[in-house]
């Protein structure tokens, strides 16, 4: 019996250790996610100066720069804190959250996470051809890629850029930004050729 108790206690000890480790790892993971989110939140508005919208005055009424989240919101207050007091070209940044999107609701940047009711791919498709900087996140759906697609490389948040789609949507992305991208899907040559 004693041996049973001993083995039980030994087993319990291992479990405790394993659980501790699991909990610990989760905490670390949660901490990493929190940092990642904060970075991504700042990226959302930091991207704006490197992107040119075809007609910002018409697209963003009310003299604001709207950053929208389509689907599940991973940021919460983090994003609101990050953008508070920030502006793009003199326009204060506002954050709008949408569960469902059926066409462009007047956003400059849309961070597409998707939801069960409307997956990211659907949202992306809905925004196709609209002058909106679509941002996707590998963390949510690796298959769906917007114009900007956040990836993590070497423990750092980086991004891929789909310049071709941006061009189709009437957006121009600064080469400075392109140079920072992990990868760029370039515009077809005909589109780059000067008229």
């Amino acid at each position: 019996m004693a041996s049973i108790t001993a083995s039980l206690s030994r087993t319990a000890g291992w479990v405790v250790i394993v659980v501790w480790f699991i909990v610990r790892i989760g905490a670390v993971r949660a901490e990493g996610s929190q940092l990642e989110l904060a970075v991504k939140a700042t990226y959302l508005y930091k991207l704006a100066p490197f992107v040119e919208w075809p007609n910002p005055a018409a697209e963003f009424p009310g003299n604001v720069f709207p950053i929208c989240i389509a689907g599940r919101d991973p940021f919460g207050a983090v994003l609101d804190r990050a953008v508070s007091g920030q502006s793009v070209a003199g326009h204060p940044i506002v954050v709008r959250r949408y569960q469902v999107i059926t066409g462009n609701p007047g956003c400059a940047v849309v961070y597409i996470t998707g939801s069960d009711t409307e997956p990211a791919a659907v949202i992306l498709a809905a925004l196709h051809a609209a002058p909106v900087l679509t941002v996707t996140d590998q963390d949510f759906d690796p298959k769906v890629k917007g114009i900007i697609n956040f990836v993590v490389r070497d423990n750092r948040v980086r991004f891929q850029i789909d310049e071709a789609t941006a061009a189709e949507d009437g957006l121009t992305i600064s080469s400075k930004l392109l140079s920072l991208a992990v990868s760029v899907r370039q515009r077809p040559p005909s589109a780059t050729a000067p008229r």
Binding site: Y43, K46, P49, F50, S87, A89, K176, S179, L180
Partner: protein, 601 residues
Amino acid sequence: MPRLWRLTPIIALAIALILLVAGMGLAFYIDRSNENRTTAEVTVQARILASTVTAALVFNDHDAAQEYVSAMQANPEVQQAAVYDSAGRLFAGWSRDGQSPLPATEHPHAPRLDHGHLIVSSPVAQENLMIGTVYLESVTEALGRRIQRYGAIALLVIMAVLLVGVLWIAQRALTRANVALADRARQLAAANESLLAEIEQREQIEAALRQAQKMEAIGQLTGGVAHDFNNLLQVILGNLERLQRRFRDSDLGADASRLIASAARGAERAAILTQRLLAFSRRQPLAPKPLEINKLVAGLSDLIGRTLGESVQLQTVLAGGLWRALADANQLESALLNLAVNARDAMPSGGKLTIETANAHLDEAYARTESDEVKAGQYVLIQVTDTGTGMGPDVLAKVFEPFFTTKDIGQGTGLGLSQVYGFAKQSGGHVKIYSEVGVGTTVKLYLPRATVIDSPLRDHSDDGQVPGGNSREMILVVEDQDDVRAFTSETLRDLGYSVSEAADGPAALHTLEHESRIRLLFTDIGLPGGINGRQLADQARRRYPELLVLFTTGYARNAIVHHGRLDPGVELIGKPFTQTELALRIREIFDRAVGANWAPG
């Protein structure tokens, strides 16, 4: 303009200095502007870098930022480059080897120079927001480029300075050439002046020459006249003499003898006059003979007195025991007359002329001090002193030069004193002139003492005893003038000689061929028929070497006279001659020939 020329070196130097300063100024200016340009360039590069690294800074991409910053290494002038974030912390950067490490923190500031390196800190801004700082450190200029530029400037400046130097040297050469040219011009002016003076002098000389030629013409004329006169006087005198001899022997009375003597004296005076004319015309050959100077001066004083005129008093101081001088009497007379004429002209308002004679001895010391060649020895001094205007040293120096005269054209030949000088030299004597302005002039004429004792016996004292000849001594008389020939022949016959006659040279030669007894040829020099007396004598002597010759002439032409002296060995008796003179002369010649023939034996 010459003032400007003189200033040129200073101007050239000033230009060279200005060029140097300008070159330095230009170098400085270029340096400054280059610095500014470099600053601008580096600032622009910093701004470009700033604008390119914005995204990297924004997205905190060190790698991308480092990539951009490293791109600056392509510019060799950039020594350090870095990007700092908004807090001033080093974000990315690099530094070339040997450079000090990058500053830990950096904020934007104005460009500054630090140890020759230009440091530019440019802000990285986005949306008017400072998000970082770009830091660039660059050399202001590569050393090679700087050397190149300064080399070019230095080359230009050196070229300019050289150019100025060359210009200066050229100007100096030009100035020197100008000076040389001015010198040449001065020399030319001087040469022209001397040429003008020479022309003037030549004109004077030509005038004097014309005067001399006129005098020469007059001399020739008078010489010719005197010659004819001599022939006539020869006849008159000769015949008078013969008459006198005849009357002396007869008893026609003293009355006739006195008349003849009177006529003879008149004729003799006429003969003397012709002698003077001949002396003037200088056609008298120079035949130095021992002379009694006192006698000559006394004889001449009458003529000199007349020459001087009444306002000038003549005084003669004749020394006793005076030696005899060896000189030509006629020339001496000419010299004395010339001196008298000069003295008279020097005393226009009257005065006194003194002629002194003395024995003199010129010693070696005196001979050495004289520029002329003077032999030390014994001389007879004739000193002519006037109380005239005198001459200054400059005139005195030239007074013996031929054609030199202070008299107006036509007044004198300029040959007077030169004749005196020439005569003195010709006679082996010496002449010295002393003069003082306002006091007078003294001319000392030294004639050599006659050392050969000339037998005074030959001096014909008129004792009527003349040496005669004999009939074996035959004389050929050659004379174109019948009267003279006849007189001469008669005279010689009277003296006891055998005489043959000929009128000209060919006749004489013919006679010589057929009459072998002829021992002496007595011929006039001036003969018609193509052969003159000299030529006749030469031809005759070639055939008959022992033939004796005696010439006679009214005046001597060059036939026997050279340089005013008789040729050696030539015997001459001047016309008119008396019977006595002729007798003595012929006897002397015969006797000397006999003596010479006998001497070797």
